[in-house]
């Protein structure tokens, strides 16, 4: 018991950090679900491509040390932009190849899901065949100094970077969706697609934009993941993807602020579960949370606010 008490503050700090990454991933699921009412199974590969894009940028810039000052800012800007661009393009590409032709012939969500699974395996294999199936290390590009303490937990610079960037990105996204003309289009389609079409909303453009936004968020998540965990792999997206989806469901799928709440909640539940049972049970705890939420409150903590509840 004493052991668990000493784990409380470290669990909160770790859970908040991983929760920030889950929240960014959850946004991708939630945006697409809000507009199309389907689960973008290939979103995990959007994330995976983002981690590779930031790694390749580091290789191209010959960065294998932790730069300081202006250089550090430039390097982080470069890998963030690379990851955002790559993930955004892959997300839009997935929409073009796997979803759009099906949508044009009005296929069911089952056909969409199978098509997305195919896309997901295709993308994984492209990277597996090209770069192998082993873990690929990242160089350490950030000195992981302890900045300050909360309780008995150390707060390192990379944790602050992860949480701060995630919060900033989510704030920008929230403003974009709720405060701009393009965002209004997204909300209109989420609320009632056929009426939105009648009102002159270009639905294909809105859908492309939605995938792009989700992809950009996954790209930021991928860059942060690479900096924090310092590894990537062809199938790295799978577990993160399931967790992101769980976070989206937990917060209320289709609800952008719900993704934030769900992400942090899942991160905390998971680390506390790991502290209580054992670290190797973390993923089992996360999957069990998903099953339990779907059973008892399928609309999530905040509810499906962008459209009427359907579950």
């Amino acid at each position: 018991m004493h052991n668990f008490v000493s784990q409380i503050w470290p669990s909160i700090v770790d859970g908040t950090t991983t929760g920030a990454i889950y929240a960014l991933m959850a946004l991708g699921y939630t945006l697409v679900y809000g507009v199309l009412r389907l689960i973008n199974f290939a979103h995990s590969e959007v994330f995976m491509v983002g981690t590779f894009a930031s790694l390749f940028t580091l290789h191209a810039l010959h960065i294998n040390y932790a730069p300081g000052g202006i250089e550090a800012i430039a390097v982080f800007a470069a890998i963030t932009i690379a990851a955002m661009t790559a993930s955004g393009l892959v997300a839009v590409g997935v929409e073009y190849v796997a979803y759009r032709p099906l949508r044009k012939r009005n296929s069911s969500s089952l056909a969409n899901l199978i098509s997305a699974i195919g896309m997901s395996f295709f993308l994984q294999e492209v990277f597996a065949l090209r770069y192998g199936r082993d873990l690929i290390p990242f160089p350490r590009i950030l000195q992981k100094n302890v900045l300050f303490h909360i309780g008995n937990a150390e707060v390192r610079s990379d944790m602050v970077l992860v949480v701060a960037s995630a919060l900033v990105m989510m704030f920008i996204l929230d403003r974009f969706v709720n405060g701009t003309r393009l965002g209004r289009g997204i909300r209109a389609v989420a609320q009632d697609a056929s009426t939105a079409v009648l009102m002159g909303v270009n639905i294909d453009r809105v859908i492309t934009l939605t995938f792009l936004l989700g992809g950009v968020m996954a790209g930021v998540a991928a860059m942060l993941y690479g900096t924090f965990y310092e590894v990537t792999q062809y199938n790295i997206g799978f577990v993160i993807g399931i967790k992101g989806f769980t976070a989206a469901v937990l917060g209320g799928i289709g609800n952008i602020r719900g993704a934030l709440v769900g992400g942090f909640a899942l991160g905390l539940i998971e680390t506390f579960g790991g502290a209580i049972f054992n670290a190797q049970w973390i993923d089992v705890v996360a999957f069990s949370v998903l099953v339990l939420v779907l059973l008892f409150r399928p609309t999530g903590i905040l509810g499906e606010s962008l459209q009427r509840a359907r579950a």
Binding site: L36, R37, L38, I39, Y96, V97, A98, Y99, R100, P101, L102, R103, K104, R105, N106, S107, S108, S109, L110, A111, N112, L113, I114, S115, I117, G118, M119, S120, F121, F122, L123, Q124, E125, V126, L129, A193, S194, V197, I203, D204, I207, F238, I242, F245, V249, N278, Q280, W281, D283, V284, F287, S288, L290, V291, L294, L295, P298, R310, A311
Partner: protein, 379 residues
Amino acid sequence: MAMTSNKLGQGISEAWVPVRKATAEVSSRWRRAPKWARLVVYLLIVVLAVLAPSQTVGNFMAPQSDWRTVLFYPIGSYILLALGLNVVVGLAGMLDLGYVAFFAIGGYAMAVLGVNYHWSFWEILPAGVAIAALSGVILGAPTLRLRGDYLAIVTLGFGEIIQRVANNLTVTGGPTGISGIPHPPSIGHFSFLTYGVLDPTPYYYLELLMIILVIFVSYRLENSRIGRGWVAIREDEDAAELMGVPTFAFKVWAFAIGASVGGLSGVVYAAKVIAITPENYPLLLSVLILVCVVLGGSGNRIGVILGAFLVAWLPERFRGLANYRILIFGAALVIMMIFRPGGILPAGRRRSELLEGRGGGQHLGGEFDLGQPGAEPEA
């Protein structure tokens, strides 16, 4: 870009038209054929399957690997698993992405009961099937109230949980798994009933027997009250409920029956391979079995068997392509869903949930063209 890709898509779907007509013709002739003619064809297929382990066939079918081993696993096991998953996905229309969990449960039942409790294969077989069916009910009863795509994710999670639990528990041997699993006791002195270490043929015949049994049972089920109930649920669950179909109970039944076939397959597999580890049961296997069902034509047993055979056999025949098979299957899934959502041999009665949908992009610019590929006329 959008324009050209749509034009291209249209061109390719028009090129499909003769193929579609030909398969529709064959399937309608098949349905009109007299009963004895169909029986003769079935018998011929069984005879072919019995003769399959010969060396001559092997030289052509799998020159680079041991054909008889390949016949047992992956070919036979995939066919058995695909037939079981077909009950869930093809007949009842529920997407199960964690089917490998039941294969694993059957395998671990065989391993734990055989190694720790010294049960014989023939005692474990019904026990393993029952355990798998029970776990299907335990998973199904709470989750089957969910919508289709949620169910898919929950079953995906379940498949992962089973693998990780097997990896973490001591009774399952953790990451190293269980070894020394007993073989089935031999029957008499026939070589094809002597279950040894070296010769895979007896196991293949055992599996063939199970496959025939499962085909027979699922055929009888499909043409029973519960089978018609499944089709009704698949086509429109609300309407089925209104018409008095006990949808929830039938869905649980479909799940339990699918799970028990998975368990059966797992017991037979574990009895052959001596040692199993959690790595024998990856998520990838669930996806490959789903590919078998979807590629072959979900809901159509012959199509599913053909799909399972192709998915299992092609990588063995063309060893050079084995590395690329998942890449190819991934692309094949997308292409199938776009151009032939019913599979290679679409089921006659199956139409709606892969063609004119109720989810996804209903109001999002879908053109309500009911003359789409795969929409074969009713028999």
